[in-house]
Subunit: 423 residues, 2 copies
C-alpha cells in the first residue's frame, strides 16, 4: 500500500482512538494534529507533543500532507478548514455527520473539481460498514428502503424504559450519569443526530441529494411509560427509527420519529446503545447491519478503513476510483409528513362512558381510517379511561384531521400520543 | 466505468438471476454463456440463444472476454475451466464455495502470477456483503472471532422444529417439499456447505490459510425434539453454528456444529432460511450482518457487485488493486476438537434411582468439569429418567472422557446428545 502522510483535525475521544489505531500501520505517517489547546495533557502512551498545532491551516496548507482526517465535529470552523484542505488537494476522511448533511454538496462538488475524495464511513453508524458496501458491493442494487436505529443514546434510553419500567426523565438521567447521554441531550433525544445520518444514507442509497431541512423529525421526549407498556401488550417495542424510502412515483420519504416496531422484527431486538440498519434492495432483498454506532474504537475502525483503502487505491492509480466519488446532481423530491402513509398507534384519554369507543370509531371512519385494534386500559380516578387505537395503513393528514375532530368533542379529554407503527 | 465483456459458466437458477441483473448495465456485455444443454428452453424473457455454447473453453480462450463468471458449482470440471480462464488472463467472479475451500490456494496463486483477481462475494452468505467489507473497510481490524449461521436449509429445519414441535425427519421432509432442502440433503444437513463457507471466511479474516480437512464438522441430523425443548426451557435456541476463532497462542479453532445459543444472542433470533454472521474485530467490536444467504436474486447482487467494482477499478488502472488480491502464504495452525474449550449441554438417560444425579456429578468432577445446571425431566415408562446437564467451560477431551466413564456404569443407559453452548 502507498505510504500516506496525514494530518488530523481534533484529538478528543474519537481523535485519540484514531491516533492509536493509525500508529500501527507502517504506511501511515501522522504528520500533524490540530487541537484547541496544545498544552493539554493527552491520555495517550508515548505521545509526541511536537505533532500538535493550534492552527489547523498549518495542516490544510502543508504540501507534504496527502489526507486530512477530520474528527472535530461541528460546522464552524470545520467547514472552512475542510474547504481549505480540499482546495489544497488533500483527500478528506471525516466522521462529521452534521457537516455532510448540511454542507455536503458544496464540499463534494469542490472535491470533484480538485480530483480528491471525501470518505465518511465513520459519519454514519460508527463502526458498522454501510457507506462503502452501498457504494461498492451493493452497487448493482436499486435500494428502495432504509429503516434504522442510528442513535445509540435514544436506543439506550428506550431500552431502559422498557426493561426497568422507567419514565423518560429517569432513564435520561441514568443515561447521563453513565455517559451515554450528554448534559445537553437535545441533539440526540430530539432526533437531530439521527436526521443527519439518515440524510447521508438516503442520499447515497437513492442517488439523489436529500435536503436535511425537509426531513420530518420527532424525538423521544414525549414517549411515556404508558406508551411503552401499551406497546408491549400489543406485541411491539418502541424505537427511534430513521427511515428513508423511494415511493412508486419516485418521490422520496425521509423522516426520523419513534415507532412501535413489531417484536419479531429484527430492529425490535436491537437493545442498548447498539445501532442497526435495515436496507431493502433489488435484487438483494433485506439486509440488516448491526454493531456499535459510536465510541472511539468503532469509529476509528471506519476512519482507518477509509484511509487504508484509499492508500491501496492510490498505490494503483493517482486518481480516485469512480466508485469513491460522490456527486448528487439530482435533487430528491421529498414529500411532507402529511402525505405519508403509515399504520398508527393513538393513545387517547376519554370520558368513561359507553359512547366513547363508538365516537372514536366513527371519527376514524369519517376520515378514511380503518381501526385494526382498539383497547381500553382501565379507568382513572377522575372517571376517564385510557384508550389505545392501532390503525390500518392511513394517510397522515387524515389521521391529523381525525385527532382534531376528536378533540372537538367533550368526551375526548386528551390525545396523549400519536406514534407510527412498523410491522 | 470500464466496459467489460464477460462469459458466464452455468445458467441454472443462479446463472439466470445473474444474467437478468447484468443485462441492465450498459457497460457489461455478456458475450457467451456455457451450459450443458444448449437446446434446453430457458425461462428468461427475450433470451438470445446464440449466446450459448456447450464448450466452456470457448469462453476461457476467447481473447475478447475480460471476466469469467462461474455459477456452475462443483470441482470437476469447474476447476480445470477456471484454471484455463486464469491462464488466459481472465478475471474470475465465482459463487463456488466448495471449489474455493478445497482448491482456492492453487487458483489464487495462479491468479497472482497472471495478474488477475478472483472475486467471490457470492460464495459466502449469498447477498450479504461480507467478503468485500472484510477486505476493504474493516481492514484496520484484527478479527479474532466469527460465529455464523451460514446454511439456510438447516436453519429453516431447526426453526420449524422449534416453532412447530416437529421431529427432525418431519421438518426435513417439509423443507424438501417447499424447495428449501434438496432430495439428497447431505451437503446441507451434515454441515459440509457451512464448512466450505467458514473455511473461506476464516482464511480471509485471520489471514491464514485454513485447511478444510481439519475443520471439525457435525450436522443437525441427531438433534431431537427433546433437545429443542430442553434448550427452550433452559433459555436457548439450537442453531447450526459455523465458527472460527484465533486463540491467545495464535492457533486457529474452526468448526461447524449445532449449538445451544442463548435467546438474547442476536444469532438466536435469526429464523428460517436467513443467514447471519457475527464478526468480532479490534477495534470495531462485534458486528452482525444478516440477510438472504442463498437464492438467485441475492446471489446475483453479489456477483454483479463484484463485477461492477472490478469495472470501476479497471477504469482507473489496468492492475488489480492490492486489496483485491488474495494470497495466504501462512498456513493456519488449526487445533483439534479435543483441544477446544466450550460450555456443554449433555442429554442423558439414566436409571431412575436417587444416586444417578450424584454419580453424574462425581464423574464430571473427576474429569475437571463444573456443572452449572442439572435438570431431571420426568420419568419414563421403563423407570429411566431424562437428565440434562449444562457445564461451565470445559475441555472437550475431558467431556468425552466423562461421557465414556458414565457409560461404564449400569445406571447410565444412554448419552442421547452432546451439544456445545454459546452465551
Amino acid at each position: 500500500m502507498k505510504s500516506l502522510k496525514v494530518g488530523i483535525i481534533g484529538l478528543g475521544t474519537v481523535g485519540s482512538g484514531v491516533y492509536k489505531v493509525l500508529k500501527n500501520f507502517k504506511n501511515i505517517e501522522i504528520k500533524k494534529i490540530a487541537v484547541k489547546n496544545i498544552n493539554k495533557k493527552r491520555e495517550i502512551e508515548d505521545f509526541n507533543y511536537d505533532l500538535l498545532t493550534d492552527n489547523p491551516y498549518e495542516i490544510t496548507q502543508d504540501n507534504e500532507i496527502d489526507v486530512v482526517i477530520e474528527v472535530s465535529g461541528g460546522i464552524n470552523p470545520t467547514f472552512d478548514i475542510l474547504k481549505s484542505a480540499i482546495e489544497n488537494k488533500k483527500h478528506i476522511v471525516t466522521a462529521n455527520k452534521e457537516l455532510l448533511a448540511k454542507k455536503g454538496s458544496e464540499l463534494f462538488n469542490l472535491a470533484k473539481e480538485k480530483n480528491v475524495v471525501i470518505l465518511y464511513e465513520a459519519a454514519v453508524a460508527g463502526g458498522i460498514p454501510i457507506i462503502m458496501p452501498i457504494k461498492t458491493i451493493l452497487c448493482a442494487n436499486k435500494i428502495t428502503k432504509i429503516a434504522a436505529i442510528l442513535n445509540g443514546t435514544t436506543n439506550y434510553i428506550l431500552t431502559k424504559m422498557a426493561e426497568q419500567d422507567l419514565s423518560y426523565e429517569t432513564a435520561l438521567k441514568q443515561a447521563q450519569e453513565l455517559g451515554y447521554a450528554e448534559t445537553d441531550p437535545t441533539g440526540d433525544v430530539e432526533g437531530f443526530d439521527a436526521a443527519y445520518k439518515i440524510a447521508i444514507l438516503s442520499t447515497i442509497s437513492f442517488n439523489k441529494k436529500v435536503n436535511i431541512n425537509k426531513i420530518y423529525r420527532e424525538g423521544i421526549t414525549k414517549i411515556t411509560a404508558h406508551d411503552i407498556n401499551s406497546a408491549k401488550e400489543l406485541g411491539y417495542r418502541i424505537k427511534l427509527i430513521a427511515m428513508g424510502q423511494v415511493l412508486s412515483d419516485g418521490k422520496i420519504d425521509v423522516r426520523v420519529h419513534p415507532m412501535l416496531v413489531a417484536k419479531k422484527h429484527l430492529l425490535a431486538k436491537i437493545d442498548n446503545a447498539t445501532n442497526s440498519i435495515l436496507l431493502r434492495g433489488n435484487p438483494v432483498g433485506d439486509l440488516v447491519f448491526t454493531g456499535a454506532g459510536a465510541g472511539a474504537e468503532p469509529t476509528s475502525s471506519s476512519v482507518a478503513g477509509d484511509l487504508l483503502v484509499l492508500a491501496s487505491e492510490l498505490e494503483a492509480t493517482d486518481s480516485p476510483l469512480p466508485q469513491s466519488v460522490c456527486h448528487h446532481d439530482e435533487i430528491a423530491d421529498q414529500i411532507n409528513i402529511g402525505d405519508t402513509y403509515n399504520e398508527y398507534y393513538i393513545s387517547i384519554t376519554a370520558s368513561n362512558h359507553p359512547g366513547a369507543i363508538g365516537f372514536i370509531g366513527s371519527v376514524c371512519g369519517k376520515n378514511n381510517i380503518n381501526i385494526s385494534t382498539i383497547m381500553q386500559k382501565g379507568i382513572n380516578d377522575d372517571n376517564t379511561a385510557e384508550i389505545v387505537v392501532i390503525t390500518e395503513t392511513s394517510k397522515e393528514a387524515d389521521v391529523q384531521n381525525a385527532l382534531a375532530d376528536m378533540l372537538k368533542s367533550d368526551s375526548i379529554k386528551n390525545i396523549n400520543n400519536l406514534l407510527r407503527v412498523m410491522n
